[in-house]
């Protein structure tokens, strides 16, 4: 059991890192998008290994589903994007921003006090999460319905914005 989890973790980690590198290095932006989907999918696998089953499902639904579709649509709707960014004019600035991000993330990871909780986490998480979200006494019923209103505003807003032209 333990070795099985370790083996699947290392396979997933290798796939994740390799596909992330492919996203950066591939010249064809559409292939890069497909490798990004693979990267998202292996992140979902790592969530499963960590025992976060709802997070894995949400990762597959939102990132592999929605975000990937949005990225691919953005590529398909744009003209002449096949070769990626044509000029390396912003290469130096991009390097600086990337370096800054790396330094920030490294600092946060190093300086955070990572303490492990002693109590056993709930498993599977989905049903307890549903209880916390939907139950009448202690749930978040009003925020849940307000989320529906927010999504409604997103639909109508997007239609109005685009149909004006």
């Amino acid at each position: 059991m333990e070795t099985g989890i370790a083996i699947s973790f290392w396979i997933l980690a290798a796939v994740m890192v390799a596909s992330a590198l492919a996203v950066v290095w591939l010249r064809d932006i559409f292939r890069a998008a497909l490798f990004l989907v693979l990267c998202f999918f292996s992140v979902a696998g790592v969530f499963v290994i960590l025992g976060a089953d709802f997070l894995a499902a949400a990762q597959v639904l939102i990132y592999v589903g929605a975000i990937a579709v949005l990225i691919i649509f953005a590529i398909m709707l744009t003209r002449e994007t096949q070769r990626g960014s044509p000029s390396g004019r912003f290469r130096f600035i991009a390097f600086l921003v990337g370096l800054l991000f790396l330094v920030t993330v490294t600092l946060v990871v190093v300086s955070t006090d990572w303490h492990a909780i002693t109590e056993i986490p709930a498993e599977p998480t989905t049903s307890s999460l549903a209880q916390a979200l939907f139950s009448g006494e202690s749930g978040f019923v009003l925020p849940f319905e307000i989320a529906a209103v927010l999504l409604l505003a997103a639909i109508i807003g997007a239609i109005v914005l685009v149909r004006e032209r």
Binding site: A57, L61, R79, T126, A148
Partner: protein, 123 residues
């Protein structure tokens, strides 16, 4: 829980192996001389039994497809809420059902608006 996901992993591996076998089978069969290699121009064209393609493979898609992506994303977010709700509907009971019905009613307004505005029409 991990055991159930283990089955999922087995399915994934089987799907991968199936796809790899299907891709690798023709070259392997040719390599071992089981399949004869007799190419001709018609046979090695991209569509042996169809029309030849015109122009580049890259076309800019119509902007109308944006609405389909948008509606899909909204449905996707709905499913994220539906999934934990469906898992524990038994414990939530009637209250949970009404809750989700209200959620859907609010969102259906948006879909009806999209429908009435004709964004889903194919022109």
């Amino acid at each position: 829980m991990l055991e159930n996901f283990g089955y999922l992993g087995v399915f994934l591996i089987a799907a991968l192996l199936f796809a790899l076998t299907m891709i690798m089978l023709p070259p392997l069969l040719r390599r071992f001389g089981i399949v004869p290699k007799k190419p001709n121009p018609v046979k090695s064209s991209t569509y042996e039994c169809g029309m030849d393609t015109v122009g580049k493979s890259w076309v800019q898609f119509n902007f109308r497809y944006y609405f389909y992506a948008l509606i899909f994303v909204i449905f996707d977010i709905q499913v994220v809420f539906l999934y934990p709700w469906a898992v524990s509907l038994g414990q939530l009971g009637l209250f949970g059902l009404v809750e989700m019905a209200v959620f859907f009613l609010i969102l259906i307004v948006g879909f009806v608006y999209a429908w009435k505005k004709g964004v889903l029409e194919w022109k």
